[in-house]
């Protein structure tokens, strides 16, 4: 079963604009992660936010987490053509054994036009 649902499925913007992607999940979590995937490549970890955190920044990335709504958002500011990729959220489902078993959303495909 899918833990994460992402919205929108696809997003097309101009270079310099901001891009916002949303993720909703179903069960309680310890943390939520965002990953990027360039075409034909593996996933690259972007940012991890813990369940007791509300906001986290990394460079041009800003992630928010609302555990009461079971949702997260990823904001990419001042987008660049190189940001063109698919973005996935992943949750751990609050596993007590900390096995790292992640459940991924279906992803948002971002196209940044030069």
């Amino acid at each position: 079963s899918q833990q994460g649902e992402e919205d929108p499925q696809a997003l097309s913007i101009q270079e310099g604009e901001n891009a916002t992607m949303n993720c909703s999940y179903k069960t309680s979590i310890n943390n939520l992660q965002w990953y990027r995937q360039n075409s034909g490549r593996g996933l690259v970890h972007l940012i991890l936010i813990r369940s007791n955190e509300r906001e986290k920044h990394s460079g041009r990335l800003r992630v928010t987490l609302d555990t009461s709504k079971k949702s997260s958002s990823l904001l990419i500011t001042a987008s660049r053509a190189a940001d063109t990729a698919s973005y996935f959220c992943a949750t751990d489902g609050q596993s007590a054994s900390n096995t790292g078993k992640l459940i991924f959303g279906q992803g948002t495909t971002l196209q940044v036009k030069p």
């Binding site: 593996g42 996933l43 991890l48 054994s97 790292g100 078993k101 459940i103 992803g107």
Partner: protein, 112 residues
């Protein structure tokens, strides 16, 4: 980039044949994972390992087996491949179960 190598990168085989995919890491990470990625499903966990000879099932483990005899190698085996196992397979590693995962570049497997 984390030292993860998946082999082969591409494979075409026939239904009913056995297939083994290999994941090799040079990071000495304890945890290793196998995922499959299909359109409309995102990534789904097949099996994972939390140490040498220690493995457990993921969300979609039916039809797959794994082995880990050394820290650096995690093998995924399809005993008798079916067309529904056509997919892109990704290996990932992690220092611990609470750390981010680092992914290989995938194996594209086609079963005719």
């Amino acid at each position: 980039d984390a030292g993860i190598t998946q082999s082969p990168r591409h494979k075409v085989t026939e239904t009913g044949t056995p297939v083994t995919l290999r994941c090799h890491q040079t990071e000495n990470h304890r945890y290793m994972y196998w995922y499959r990625q299909d359109p409309g499903h995102g990534l789904r966990l097949i099996h994972y390992s939390y140490g040498v000879k220690d493995t457990d099932k993921g969300e979609v483990s039916d039809g797959y087996s794994v082995s880990r005899s050394k820290t650096e190698d995690f093998l995924l085996t399809l005993e008798s491949a079916t067309s529904s196992q056509t997919s892109v397979y990704f290996c990932a590693i992690s220092e611990s179960g609470v750390q981010p995962q680092h992914f290989g570049d995938g194996t594209r497997l086609s079963i005719l």
